[in-house]
């Protein structure tokens, strides 16, 4: 079993008729994801790739059992759409949307917490469990089934690391993007905990970056709770202070937010440190996974 999703996970696509939504629906469906329905207000009654579309989530869930949802809704409607998923108590929401205002993210996560819903993201590529299921936008040809979990802030970095691992014959159990921040639903720490419990995962790659202090919680969790080996790569070592490196959260505002400082904390916590993506397969080989 992969973490969070498996082949049987029944998926609802929010924003299914949009540019990204319709394309990714096609890709996920081809990969084997069990997509049961989609929602776009005003487009109820249509079909996308044979998937029935509803105006409202409540209509969709009255017709279909749904275990997880993935949202491709634009930022200005993302809060409403997310609250709609949460109101129907769909237990897992993947929020791919980039650029949702902080206040809206706070409200979404607050309500999700109250209702006991897991939110991955926002600004996340979602997740893939190679060979099993995909609830996200990962380019699946770069991944292969295996025993190493990946958790990443950045989508593109997880693709790159998946690619170099796959090229060296090292497969992945699940690859999870937590999102670009600065505010997250599921944390690195929460995903690490899932990997620690997952019998298919033998080692975990943690991909972090400059900015924020999330990686310190991860380091603390690794030190206290992880028995499985962790390989960590923190990018942005060469980032200048005060510049925002793409992600809203990737901006060095204090000494502890630098890559060097985070790398040191992770090293102390027992993680193996990779300088770049290339070194990761070697480190995995070295620990015999």
């Amino acid at each position: 079993m992969a973490i969070l999703i498996n082949k049987k996970t029944r998926v609802l696509i929010q924003g299914i008729t949009g540019r990204a939504g319709s394309f990714q629906t096609q890709v996920m469906k081809a990969y084997g994801t069990h997509i049961v329905c989609g929602v776009t207000p005003g487009k109820g009654g249509q079909a996308v790739n044979g998937i029935p579309v509803y105006d409202l989530v409540t209509e969709a869930v009255s017709e279909h059992k749904v275990d997880a949802a993935i949202s491709f809704v634009p930022a200005s409607f993302a809060k409403d759409a997310a609250l709609e998923i949460i109101a129907e108590r769909i237990p897992l929401l993947v929020l791919t949307t980039e650029g949702i205002p902080d206040q809206d993210v706070v409200m979404i996560l607050d309500q999700a917490k109250i209702m006991g819903i897991r939110v991955l993201g926002p600004d996340t590529p979602g997740m893939i469990s190679p060979g099993k299921s995909k609830l996200g936008v990962h380019p699946h040809t770069l991944f292969k089934e295996g025993a190493v979990g990946i958790v990443s802030k950045s989508g593109s970095l997880s693709y790159e690391v998946g690619r170099v691992m796959t090229a060296k014959g090292i497969g992945q159990s699940s690859v999870v993007g937590i999102g670009g921040g600065p505010i997250w639903g599921l944390s690195q720490e929460a995903v690490l905990a899932l990997f620690e419990k997952d019998p298919e995962t033998k080692a975990v790659v943690l991909l972090g970056e400059v900015g924020g202090t999330l990686e310190y919680d991860a380091a603390c969790f690794i030190e206290q709770n992880m028995k499985k080996p962790v390989i960590a790569l923190i990018v942005g070592r060469m980032a200048p202070k005060g510049a925002q490196m793409g992600h809203a959260g990737a901006i060095i505002e204090g000494e502890e937010e630098t890559a060097a400082s985070k790398i040191e904390a992770l090293r102390k916590a027992g993680a193996l440190i990779a300088k770049n993506s290339l070194e990761i397969p070697n480190l995995i080989r070295k620990i015999g996974v």
């Binding site: 950045s154 693709y159 490196m245």
Partner: protein, 384 residues
């Protein structure tokens, strides 16, 4: 977006928060007819202006002219001083610190207050975190009276009512303008009540779509005052809404993701290259966006070679290739360039690029090695 002090204060004053009376000085003539003594405060969007000598007291107009002339000549944190806020002094009994912000670790808004107002607040926060009193609140529910009572007691306030009112005003303001930080430091207790002596306001850029008028007004004002020289590349990137951070090397970088963008930067420098910039397009870039990124990065005359680092998830490689090819078709000048391309629709993209004679790599390291070699060739060629 960080507001200038006077902009932040104006935003607060509009909601009934008391600020010292003041006026904007953009030329020496503006110093006539004011009541002295007063403060002259450089309007630059950076902290620690006091330490940088950018906040000064003047006792009459002749001193003001001397000081203003001096300030107009200096640069603070990279910003030439082009505007001053002239402010009346206020009879201060005590200085507090007060801020409303979002704690990103636990996704909750909070009020932070301290008696250590007016100090180098980051240093105090690091050394004596116990001097800061925090109360978390719900964005919808706002702060409760018992929380205000806690803060008032912690700050040992004699008259809590105006403080309660101020905190509520700040919370409402933060909500209404999508502020991620509203900081008043120092907040002065005076005989006439509470006065915001400084204001640090950061608005959430992601909320620009629903705060259009406010953002536009603030940006126009800032652009009018901001006399920093901006490169053509920076201007083009800004116009196209592209993340662009200029660096001082000669290898241009374009990436389609923040993570691989930073990895590319790290690896270029690790390999002995010198990066000319950081540029990242975000997950939903299309052909037009790619073309504009090419144009902006290559507008920097320092760029002698270009590495385009693409690995598509949401971004489609066919569209990226189209953008690159479109740019190349339209331009005559060129620098050596490599493209690393893989991921979504990479097969289509690679064949498009190859048809246009552009070399592609699947491996990022190979692409970087190649472009560093090429940049050296160019440098050597130039120095020959």
């Amino acid at each position: 977006m960080r507001l200038l002090e006077y902009q932040g204060k104006q935003l607060m004053a509009n909601r009934g928060i008391v600020i010292p009376s003041g006026s904007m000085i953009t030329s020496l003539q503006d110093l006539d007819g004011l009541e002295y003594p007063l403060f002259l405060k450089a309007q630059v969007p950076v902290g620690k202006r006091g330490k940088a000598g950018a906040i000064r007291t003047v006792s009459d107009v002749s001193e003001a002219v001397v000081v203003a002339e001096e300030l107009f000549r200096i640069t603070v944190g990279g910003y030439p001083v082009c505007a001053l806020l002239a402010e009346e002094p206020v009879g201060i009994q005590q200085e507090l610190y007060l801020a409303v912000l979002i704690d990103k670790k636990i996704n909750r808004p909070l009020v932070m207050a301290s008696q250590a107002g007016g100090m180098d607040i980051e240093a105090v926060a690091k050394k004596s975190p116990e001097k800061f009193f925090k109360q978390y609140f719900g964005l919808h529910t706002g702060i409760q009276d018992f929380q205000l009572r806690y803060l008032a007691k912690s700050l040992d306030l004699e008259k809590p009512a105006p403080f309660f009112n101020l905190v509520k005003q700040l919370i409402t303001l933060a909500r209404e303008v999508d502020a991620t930080l509203l900081e008043i430091n120092p907040l002065a207790i005076t005989s006439k009540g509470l006065v915001a002596l400084d204001a640090k306001v950061i608005l959430d850029d992601k909320a620009a779509y629903r705060q259009r008028e406010l953002f536009q007004q603030i940006m126009e004002e800032q652009q009018r005052i901001d006399k920093r020289e901006k490169s053509e590349a920076a201007q083009m990137a800004e116009a196209a809404n592209i993340q662009y951070i200029p660096l001082d090397g000669d290898i241009g970088i374009i990436a389609d993701g923040a993570g691989t963008g930073m990895l590319t930067l790290d690896m270029v420098i690790d390999a002995g290259g010198r990066a000319a910039n950081f540029c990242e397009m975000g997950g939903q870039a299309n052909a037009e966006y790619m073309e504009k990124a090419m144009a902006a990065i290559l507008a920097n005359p320092q760029v002698k070679a270009l590495v385009v680092s693409l690995i598509g998830g949401l971004t489609r490689m066919d569209e990226m290739a189209e953008g690159i090819v479109n740019y190349i078709k339209k331009t005559t000048e060129s620098v050596p360039m490599v493209v690393r391309m893989c991921g979504t629709k990479a097969d289509v993209g690679i064949s498009l690029l190859e048809k246009a004679g552009i070399k592609t790599f699947a491996d990022l390291n190979q692409a970087i090695q190649e472009i560093i070699a090429k940049s050296r060739e160019v440098s050597n060629g130039n120095s020959d």
